[in-house]
Symmetry: none
């Protein structure tokens, strides 16, 4: 089954608005085994929309569009599609009544132009819109005029506003697809999230163990992001479940603790979860990450129970006064040094009583580098009841990426510290 | 000039990753007068990529692709494009040396597969990648094999990782386009950034003064984001410069200090600039913003000279020990209260000696709300040599939006405090 998505909106192509519809719709469809083969974004101009719809119908069994169903003069999708498929538009009394009711229930007068939203192409299914005025439309293009002799196609038109589109998709479109276009074979998609290895190294390590499964139909994909690599396992058919499960086990065996989570879990979520599970608390002293690390941790609901404090000690004075870093250390080694990272981590742990503390000090740039300590130099200190360690890294990136990658490394150090503790606890009490 | 963008990535069509490249690239191009006519997203499979590139070349004068230049087996764009255009791939020694140097400078071994990134289609311009290993490629498809007798086309291949793509686009692709594909008529796009007024209020206040200019061809657009409204002024043709300049002046006269910046200037950049200009320092005490505020401020290069400290005091203990909030205040009023916001702001100013301090305390949710203090309740305290003030807001959004909007409000309070100080220094007006 071939599926295409068309998002309309000039603002998308002027780069003024992020195309969140594409992401959200593709994800909802994939969760039910419907994988989009192509997504096209076009402006709100008639010829561009018409061309995109016609081309998609020429290739696909299912085409979804978003936007252009509203009441203003640049909302043209309904009319263009009716023309393209040679369907007449008729005002549907039930739809008109619903639109009138929408305005009446809000004590607002109904502008005249809104009435065009009650126009329905002959033969289309109307998808009522409880959160707005423009209904969605599902058209069974059978025969498909743009694929002579080919199979029929479904064309589904959805409204643009997010709060209207999402419930319509979940409550009406997905059930319609499951009924009218049932997937004939199982589909499984699983994402494993890794950290601490580059993309090519990840593939190098696991490729061998996946060979047989790939020959059997497994598809493995890699996506590198700041400080992470996602491994995506996809399979179709009766064997899908087994292929993906065996691949996952093989990867777990090979990469072990480089895998921090599954599906959409973020590294900070994994860290907060491990802290909660182990009943431990965390404190942070940030210089070069400047609050990025604290911000990521506090994005996780429930972080307040395990995350005590971050001190963003940008100035040397703050490092002395608030963290207890000694002036001699600052003078002798400089603020970006192993010794200062150590004293920052120990200082914030001492002052907050946290079980684990981590500290970052480095040169984010673009200025401040020297030949001995170039931009990107960073020291990461971490400390717990087993002592203090410091790691040096060179993260030579732009300022924001530097912060992102450095905070990723700091989170990974905390995660590793928590996992070692678990392992030790297991050794001490293997039955537990 | 027709422009098409092709983003490759199976993860995009599985809805695992948001297509931020589409947004960012369309915006950068539009800022220079290059408006994208269609954006297509395809998976990392050979036939889909090849078909999309071929179709786009059949219509457009400029085609940009992202992704598929990496070292893993699903990175196939370079190879597919060479095949499509009948160009041989050759290993380029200079590019290979740069890739080796990238690994050497990071003290990492170079995996063998990475070497394929030094392959260059015959005749292509190499766009060096200082932030990664895969260079970009610019190919002058002249004659264009997919548009018989038509004009030539430029095909530009960009790497997928954001930190590699963005600097390459800004530093290399835009200058290349301005030189090789210059716009034939003037195009002016100017963005004025406002805070403190809603979208409809912004339009209501300025629409009248823009009427004549809009009749003369000016296009005004509004884009509401978290705590900000952007006003976009666009004009084409010989009169473009004048139309936009007159509109800008009219808006400045009407909205005054609601305008905090122009083009891409962020509120945090305006605040750091004002701090630098007035020679003042800032410290922050964050509870509910959890480091978001510090992170935004420290994203600004040079912030270290004016930003002393943020204390992310998530726990009550930290508020007492590190900020000097009194235990009685915490017990009597609760952590989310006017009194605690006041003591947090005064505490961090006292402990750091900063000229201005700002504090946030509130309920980010999803849990923790009560009937008297629902999720979204926030107190913002700020203090300087003229005393302390506290503002209450209800920011009832999801957790991340709550942090974004609350930090926006805190930055705006600092900006207003700095502007009043400037005004006093100029002896224009006594403090209100």
């Amino acid at each position: 089954m071939r599926i295409e998505l068309i998002n309309t909106g000039t603002e998308l192509l002027l780069g003024r608005v992020l195309n969140t519809h594409q992401h959200w719709i593709c994800r909802r469809l994939a969760d039910h085994g419907y994988v989009v083969n192509r997504a096209t974004t076009v402006p709100d101009t008639g010829p561009e929309i018409a061309a995109a719809v016609q081309e998609a119908l020429g290739r696909a069994d299912l085409v979804l569009t978003t936007g252009g169903l509203g009441p203003t003069s640049d909302d043209r999708t309904r009319e263009l599609v009716a023309e393209l498929l040679g369907l007449t538009l008729r005002e549907e009394p039930e739809t008109l009544a619903r639109i009138k009711q929408f305005f009446a229930s809000r004590n607002r007068p109904m502008p005249d132009r809104v009435r065009i939203q009650a126009l329905v192409p002959q033969g289309a299914l109307v998808l009522p819109n409880p959160n707005g005025t423009a209904p969605g439309l599902a058209i069974d293009a059978s025969p498909n005029p743009f694929r002579a002799g080919g199979p029929p196609a479904w064309l589904i038109l959805l409204p643009g506003p997010t709060r209207e589109l999402r419930p319509m998709m979940t409550d009406q479109v997905i059930p319609l697809l499951l009924q009218r276009l049932p997937r004939t074979e199982p589909f499984v998609c699983r994402t494993l999230r890794t950290t601490g290895l580059g993309e090519s190294l990840v593939e190098e390590r696991i490729a061998g163990s996946l060979d047989a499964l790939v020959r059997g139909g497994l598809e493995a994909g890699y996506c590198a992001r700041n400080g992470e690599v996602d491994i995506r396992l996809v399979a179709c058919g009766t064997d899908a479940q087994r292929l993906v499960a065996e691949a996952e086990q093989a990867i777990l065996n090979t990469l072990g603790r480089h895998i921090f989570g599954f599906e959409d879990e973020l590294l900070e979520e994994a860290v907060v979860r491990l802290l909660q599970e182990s009943g431990r608390t965390l404190a942070v002293a940030e210089s070069c990450t400047g609050g990025h690390l604290a911000n990521r941790i506090t994005n996780v609901p429930g972080a307040s129970k395990v995350f005590l404090t971050s001190l963003v000690a940008y100035s040397n004075q703050a490092k002395q006064d608030l963290l207890g870093v000694s002036p001699e250390t600052l003078v002798r080694h400089g603020a970006v040094s192993e010794a200062v990272a150590r004293e920052m981590a120990e200082g914030i742990r001492r002052r907050t009583g946290a079980d684990i503390a981590v500290a970052t000090t480095g040169i984010a740039g673009p200025d401040g580098g020297t030949p001995e300590k170039p931009v990107g130099t960073v020291y990461l200190g971490w400390t717990d009841d087993r002592g203090t360690r410091v790691l040096k890294r060179i993260n030579a990136y732009d300022r924001e990426t530097f912060k992102q990658i450095t905070s990723q490394q700091a989170l990974e150090l905390v995660r590793r510290a928590l996992l070692r503790e678990e392992r030790e606890a297991e050794k001490e009490n293997p039955a537990g």
